[in-house]
């Protein structure tokens, strides 16, 4: 290894640490909204505060159905017909700004705060 290799190594560690720091700064919120998008259009918009029990949700997609569950704390993808299952392994998302995406099926779960929603181009209700 040469000198610049160590520089690259240190820089990458710093960038990763900075990223984690920024993620951790994003605190939890009591007023969370679960947004579910399919083909870049919002198909579900749920205020998690009002959710009493764990709820199931199915979204029909190109290769079958994506099954989603959510409760008052967050949401997760239970099963998906996509090949890599990254969305399923992403696990439960609970904090504003967190996402679980299934890129092959173009489905996105995101948790947002009401104030941030104003940034969307369009909201379909």
């Amino acid at each position: 290894m040469r000198k610049a290799d160590y520089l690259v190594l240190v820089a990458l560690v710093l960038i990763a640490a900075l990223g984690y720091g920024l993620l951790a700064l994003r605190g939890n919120s009591s007023n969370k909204i679960l947004i579910i998008k399919h083909d870049n259009a919002i198909v579900e918009r749920i205020a998690l505060k009002g959710v009493q029990a764990e709820t199931k949700l199915s979204i029909p997609v190109k290769d079958g159905t994506i099954k989603i569950r959510y409760d008052k704390n967050g949401a997760w993808v239970e099963s998906s017909p996509c090949p890599d299952k990254i969305c399923v392994h992403q696990g439960k998302i609970t904090k504003p700004g967190e996402t679980a995406a299934c890129v092959p099926e173009k489905v996105l779960l995101a948790i947002e705060e009401p104030a941030k929603e104003a940034e969307h181009d369009a909201i379909i209700k």
Partner: protein
Amino acid sequence: MPSSNKLALRELTQMGILLAGAIALRLIENTLSYLMPLPGAHLGLANCITIIVLYLYGPKKAFLFLTARIILVGLLFTGLLTPGFLIGLGGALLSFLVMALGSGLTVLSPVGIGLLGAFFHNVGQITVAIVLMHTTALLSYLPVLILLGIPTGFFTGFLAKLFLDRLRSYWENK
């Protein structure tokens, strides 16, 4: 020009073997991906071959090599122009650009190139994913990908260096 033809043929054969190796490594990686802490993550062993080709034949030929690999991997595994293919393409092109520039610098060894390649591969992938999904929220994936890219990039760069050193000593002793 018999001699230059012979040289071209020799290079073509060597690159063909390396290309087959890169595809085989990708296949092995696909079957071993359950060992990775994050699903969909790869060791980047195929990138190890890209680094070797970059050092042995220079950026222009390495770019042709990469194009062939991307098309073949697309045909064999992900399918051409699927979202997964496009995300991989974004990662491969951005990381190649940076690695090609970096390989011209004497202050960097293949290890540094491997680290840079892994980092920019992740950045390129997330950029394409953000464009496809219309959301910047995917940036929250980046820290874990960058962190994972440090050991894997180091490993692939180290393997490339090991291979290049042995190949050079083999050629010298021949």
